[in-house]
Amino acid sequence: MMHKAAPSSTSILWLMLGLTLAASPHFLYQPIWVSLVFLTAIAWRCMNIWFDWYLPSNKHYLVRIFQLVIAVAAILAITFNYGSTIGRDAGVAFLVMMLGLKVTEIRSQRDYYVTVFLGYFVVITNFFFTQSIPMVMMMFIVVIIMTACLITVNDPKHVIKKLQIVKLSGQMLVQSLPIMLILFVLFPRIAGPLWGLPQDSHSGSTGIDNKMTLGKISNLIQSDKVAFRVSFEGELPPPAQRYWRGPVLWLTDGTTWTEINRSLTSAVETNIEYSGAEYHYSLTLEPHNENWLFALDMPNKSPTTVKSHINADGVLQSNESVKQRVHYQLTSQPDYQFNQQHEPFVQRALELPDNHHNLSKQLAQQWRSETATDEAYIQRVLSHFNQSDFYYTLTPPLLTGDTIDGFLFNSRRGFCEHYAASFTVLMRAAGIPARVVTGYQGGEINPVNDTLVVRQRDAHAWTEVWLQDKGWVRIDPTAAVSSDRIEYGINEIMPLSMRSPLFVANSDALIELWQSINNNWDAVNNVWNLWVLAYGPERQRDFLTKLGMTNPNWQSIAIWLGSLLSLVFILLPLLLFYQRQQADPVVRLYQDFCSKLAKFQLIPATGEGPNDFANRAIKTLQHHKSDINTITQLYIDLHYGNKSHSITELQTAIKLFQPKKAQ
């Protein structure tokens, strides 16, 4: 019997190619030994086909014991490495390794199918790690190859040529696109953990911390990663107002700045009065594993689509940490008065650790005594930064000892966090309440889709001082040193060539080309993020409402989904049935005759004529010889003869034809 035959070597080789490609993205972060086990198994199987290497057969009990030992060892090794076999990373490593072991023991068609389906599953696991466009394209190719595997294993005679297999497989995938689209658009999206990924799926996202130690942001500044993308309705705020507010740091132990205890701050009423221009925008925030959302300083309302509130520091605080890309609409007004009359935590904004920054404290007290007002003192400090030989540099010298004193009196080279921290210390030492605000400043406009792209390298820190009757006022000491950083953004500070790969750095034209490729690619990614990856419950509701569905909820969506899918599955057979109806009634009768014989595995092959088929059938059903011959003759006379016979004779003959197995 054909279906019990071992899969052909061609189909095995196709499978090896498909599996290797499917698992290859995992090689990047899996422990090397997992990849090695997998690749060794694949290579062994290929060697078995090419050079007839030995392959264990499970007939022998020693081989079975060996396989068992290897499997147990694999489980133990993974448990040892990850602490369990559950979770995203351990689960995927387990899957890849077992898949490799399975490859060495594919013998029957059944084994082959099991392996192909495991391969499809490996394809899905790649999306636990990244859902980027290149990954989707690569996995699309893998799915074409895996489907080609299913074709080759069903084509033991190699009737279909190599390229045709790929073409056929691609055709099948393209034909399935409508169903894919229906499922994508209509499958009910339910927010919540039901569809969530394993807990460890979100490790490794980077972004601004709620701590600041001098030297930390510099890591971010090297990073090209997108932090968030903003598209404004209408006008953009001028560059100098593009402050994206993040965690506010109050406490310092002399080196590290941290937030004030949240359970205290959230209990306090804040008083923010807004005035002036309003900016409406929507923001797509990349996951950063933390509890805050970024907003243009200062948002006047928390967004409706994400559960969040504006906390006592004016930071948009989300209820859950941002583990997936979120998209929200906001309105911000850069003119605002923050706790104008009363700041309940004013004392915390004056604290400085004892025995730290002694030189700075002295300097501050001296200057404060020389100036009349707080405002004048602030100006004095800023002009000190501006006129003394302070430099803005992304690669400051390493500071040892008291970092603030060291920076102010010795190195004088640093970037935003150095200036923000030391400015805050100078303020507090002079009795002016001050705090450090972290976040992003600037961003780059992508001319392709007019989106403001804010990257990790736009990370920034500035200072707010509290003045009676004015409230918290933003003072950016970095602007005093390097006004370009604030006016034009970090990109102007970093030369273009520094942000491009080496091979284009020598030619301006190439740099421009590189820039425009980057912009277009980012625009494509933005669309992908917004319409495919961020297609969650809200997007689905919006989209379906636009399509004319009134008040879609998951029940009505499910009903639509079910109806559309059943429509497809009813229409397809109907179409096939209709095509059959179109056929000659004689042919239909003959097909009935054939389906009666099909019970005995007698199916006319492509290109097998009725007489040849009858002769073959008679070999199996000797006792029905005369019936089969009569029916075939009647059919031939009707279908190919030149006399007009009556169809009824054939009809009756086929109706009465009830083939049974010989006794």
């Binding site: 009737v159 042919v587 492509t606 290109g607 009725p610 190919y640 003869g641 030149n642």
Partner: protein, 303 residues
């Protein structure tokens, strides 16, 4: 009546050509379908004997031309010679003026001579110096050629291969047939003794009868699918021409006539297909080791 006649013809030929019933049937099919026959095989398997036997059994006048590389068209077609007495040119017909012409080893002749023959085959007449001389009816050419890879051959181009309705191979006889051949009488003497079973007039009648064999719409659909597959599958360098389609149907009609049926069935098509289309098809991928015709048959649905 036709049934008996055809059986008699086949029996008569099979008494000389032993163990080659299918090949003999194909050769007769070709003649009943008014087609020219190309026999391609090694020397000594009975190509010439088959042609002789066919001529003798069907009562046709017979000529044989052994093709050589120094042969000229005039050697086949004939020449006009100046007759001194009549003071004019008179046409001396060449060996082509016969009912059955055996063109032996046709691929040994130069292309010029080959095309003279093939032109006459197509036109059923010979034109020399402005004068047209019709060829006798029925007129058949049975050409033999050695496998093309042999030394000193000019392979027939595709366009000229197309003029032959069928190309068949004879092949070695099976053991039993070969034994009786070796033990039996000399074939030449048997041939001498062979008498015609039918007259050329009867043959013409049979040819006419073959064209009246019913070809149903369903069958034409099948032939069209075959043609379409040969053009669209990408396996073949060129698809089959409409002329090839006609050839398939004519040959299948003649085959059905021999099988004593008044209509053509798909099996008739499949029976003649290898000999009708094999010489008209070329694989796109020359390395491919598939049988082009069986591939064609096994990929095209009948219903």
């Amino acid at each position: 009546m036709t049934d008996r006649v055809i059986n008699d013809v086949l029996d008569s030929i099979n008494s000389i050509i032993l163990g080659k019933e299918h090949t003999v049937k194909l050769a007769l099919t070709c003649m009943l379908a008014k087609g020219h026959l190309l026999i391609e095989d090694l020397p000594g398997v009975g190509k010439t004997t088959l042609a002789h036997t066919l001529a003798a059994t069907l009562g046709l006048s017979f000529q044989r031309i052994q093709f050589t590389s120094d042969m000229l068209p005039a050697d086949i077609l004939g020449v006009s010679v100046f007759d001194r007495n009549a003071s004019q040119f008179t046409f001396h017909p060449g060996p082509i003026f016969t009912q059955l012409l055996l063109a032996d080893e046709v691929n040994r002749a130069t292309p010029r001579t080959q095309s003279a023959l093939l032109e006459a085959m197509e036109e059923q007449q010979v034109s020399i110096e402005g004068q047209t001389h019709p060829l006798p009816t029925p007129f058949f050419v049975i050409a033999t050629q050695n496998p093309s890879h042999q030394i000193g051959t000019f392979p027939l181009p595709e366009s000229q291969l197309d003029r032959f309705l069928m190309r068949i191979k004879i092949g070695y006889p099976n053991a039993a047939a070969e034994r009786s051949l070796l033990l039996g009488e000399d074939r030449r003497q048997l041939l001498q003794a062979l008498t015609a079973v039918i007259t050329p007039e009867q043959l013409l009648k049979l040819q006419k009868h073959a064209t009246s064999i019913h070809v149903s719409e369903a069958l034409v659909d099948y032939v069209q699918r075959l043609l379409a597959y040969s053009r669209e599958s990408g396996l073949y360098l060129f698809g089959l021409s409409p002329r090839a389609g006609l050839a398939i149907i004519h040959a299948a009609q003649a085959w059905a006539l021999i099988a004593q049926r008044d209509h053509v069935v798909p099996e008739d098509i499949q029976a003649v297909l290898p000999s009708v289309v094999a010489h008209r098809l070329q694989a796109r991928d020359e390395q491919a080791s598939i049988n082009l015709v069986s591939d064609l048959i096994s990929h095209v649905t009948i219903i």
